[in-house]
Subunit: 273 residues, 2 copies
C-alpha cells in the first residue's frame, strides 16, 4: 500500500525548513507541504494557551489541504500543543521532541544531557519529561537561548559575535558535565558548526530536525503511508505573512529548492466582536 498525498509540516515560522530539508533528503518521493505562521512568529516567548490556539488553527489549515500526516516542526508547538493535537486531528501527528529525546538517550554515556531552546520550550519542561520517561535517572541541564534565533535570522552563522553568545549560553552546561546537547529549536541546526566549535568533540550534538525526519519515515512505514516509488517529491511552502530576509538565509544555508511561496490568511473561528 502507498499514499501519494503530501506530508504537512507546520512551524511558527521559517526555522522548521530544517525539518523539511531533512524530510526531503530522507524521503525523496514524498510531497511536502510546509506551512509557516510568519504573521505571528515567534511562538517561543508566548503562553501555552496562545501557542495551543495558534497550533490548532494552523494544523486545521493543513487538514483542509488534504495532508496524510502532520509534522509539528516547531519545538514550542510540540512542547505545548502535541498532546491535544494527537487527540483531535484525524491524521497521525509527529513532533520534534520525542525523536530528539530518544536520540539523546542513545548518544549519552555520562547520562547528563543538555537541552537548549526557546523560552517557551524550556519552560514547558517537555524535553525533561520525554527524557525522564526513557530514563528516570538521567541528569538534565536545560537553558533557554532567546538570542540564537535572531542571530540566525540576521544570517550571522559564522561570526565571532555569535560565537560569544553561544559561549555565554553553553559555558554553564559544559561546566555541569553534559556529554550530549539537544538542539531543541528547529532554527539551531543552522548553528550546528558554531556550536560544535564551542562544545568540542566530547559533546554529541543531537539535531532534532534530522531525528524527527527519521521518526517520520518510521511512522509512514508502520502505517503504510509511504508515497509510491517514482511519485516525484516536491516542497511547497505557504506562509501567513510575506517572507523576509530569513527565507533567503535559510534557502541558501539549506540549499533548498522552493518554488513560489504561497500566502495564506489565518482563518479564525467566528467570534462576537
Amino acid at each position: 500500500m502507498s499514499d501519494s498525498r503530501a506530508i504537512g509540516v507546520f512551524d511558527s515560522g521559517i526555522g522548521g525548513l530544517t525539518v523539511a530539508k531533512a524530510l526531503c533528503d530522507l524521503l525523496p518521493n514524498e510531497k511536502i507541504f510546509y506551512l509557516g505562521d510568519t504573521a505571528r512568529v515567534p511562538y517561543g516567548g508566548k503562553s501555552a494557551s496562545t501557542v495551543e490556539r495558534y497550533s490548532s488553527e494552523m494544523t486545521q489549515m493543513l487538514i483542509d489541504q488534504g495532508v496524510k500526516l502532520i509534522v509539528i516542526a516547531c519545538n514550542s508547538a510540540s512542547a505545548v500543543a502535541l498532546p491535544t493535537l494527537e487527540n483531535t486531528l484525524p491524521v497521525p501527528v509527529i513532533g520534534v521532541i520525542k525523536p530528539g529525546a530518544q536520540a539523546a538517550i542513545v548518544a549519552t554515556r555520562s547520562h547528563h544531557i543538555g537541552v537548549i531552546g526557546t523560552r517557551a520550550t524550556i519552560k514547558s519542561g517537555a524535553y525533561e519529561r520525554a527524557l525522564r520517561a526513557l530514563d528516570p535517572k538521567i541528569d538534565i541541564s536545560a537553558r533557554p537561548c532567546p538570542l540564537l534565533v535572531p542571530l540566525i535570522e540576521e544570517g550571522w552563522l559564522e561570526d565571532k559575535l555569535t560565537d560569544s553568545v553561544i559561549a555565554r549560553y553553553l559555558q554553564p552546561l559544559v561546566q555541569d558535565g553534559i556529554d550530549t546537547l539537544v538542539l531543541g529549536c528547529t532554527h539551531y541546526p543552522l548553528l550546528a558548526n558554531a556550536i560544535a566549535r564551542f562544545v568540542g568533540d566530547k559533546v554529541a550534538i543531537v539535531d532534532s530536525a534530522r531525528n524527527c525526519a527519521l521518526a517520520t519515515r518510521e511512522l509512514l512505514d508502520r502505517q503504510s503511508l509511504r508515497a509510491p516509488a517514482g511519485n516525484g517529491g516536491a516542497l511547497e511552502v505557504a506562509l501567513t505573512d510575506p517572507p523576509d530576509i530569513f527565507l533567503r538565509v535559510a534557502r541558501e544555508a539549506l540549499q533548498l529548492q522552493i518554488g513560489e511561496v504561497q500566502l495564506r490568511e489565518v482563518l479564525h473561528p467566528a467570534r462576537a466582536s
Copy 2:
C-alpha cells in the same frame, strides 16, 4: 476645560512602556491605559498589511475602553498604520515618528541624521519621509538593528556582548558622519547609556519615547483634553498574552509602578472559516 478620561497607549509588546514612563513623568495627573499585543509581538519583522490589521484591532480595544486620545507607542505600527488610524479613529491619535523626526531636525548641526529601528520601521521609510518633510536636503543613514530588542529582553543592558552588537550596527553610521541618532524603537531607550558610550558626545541621541510624550502634552493642551489638577494619575497595563521576564526587566529599568497586569483577548471580526 479638562477631561479625566485615560490616555490610551498601544504597543506591539512591552517596549512601549518607555513611552508610558515618559508620559507618567511629564503628565502626573493623567490616567494611562497601556495595551500591549504580547500575543503577536513583535510587529517589527511583519508585513505592512498584517501590522495595519493588528493595529486597527488593538486601537479598537482602546476605543471600547473609553480613552480620550491614543498614543501609538510602537514605531513599526506608527510607521505603517498611523495614516489609516488618523482617518478612522474617533479620537486624536499620535505616533512616535513625527515627534522623533522633529527633535532630530532641531538637534542636528551637520544635517546628517542616523535612524535605527526594527526591520519593519526602517523598511517603511517612515522616518526618512518625516525628516525630509521638515528638511528636504537632510542626509539620512538608516539601519535595521533586529538584535537589539532580544538583547534588551534578556536584560543584558550593561554588557560587553551588547556593546559589541551596538558597535557592529552603529559603526557604519558613525563613519557616514551622522551627528544625531534617532532611537526609532521604543525598546531602545533602555540601551541609551550603552549607545551613548559607543557614539560619544559628538552624536546627539534622540529618544522617541520622550519626544512622543512632549508632543502628547502639546496635543492635550491644544484640544483642552488635560486631566484636571489633582486627578491622580495612574498606569494600568493590559496585555494580550501573560507577561514574561521582560516585564520585570522593563519595570526595574524604568522604575515603573504597575498594579496587577490585566489579560485581554484579541477579538477578531467574524469571518467565514
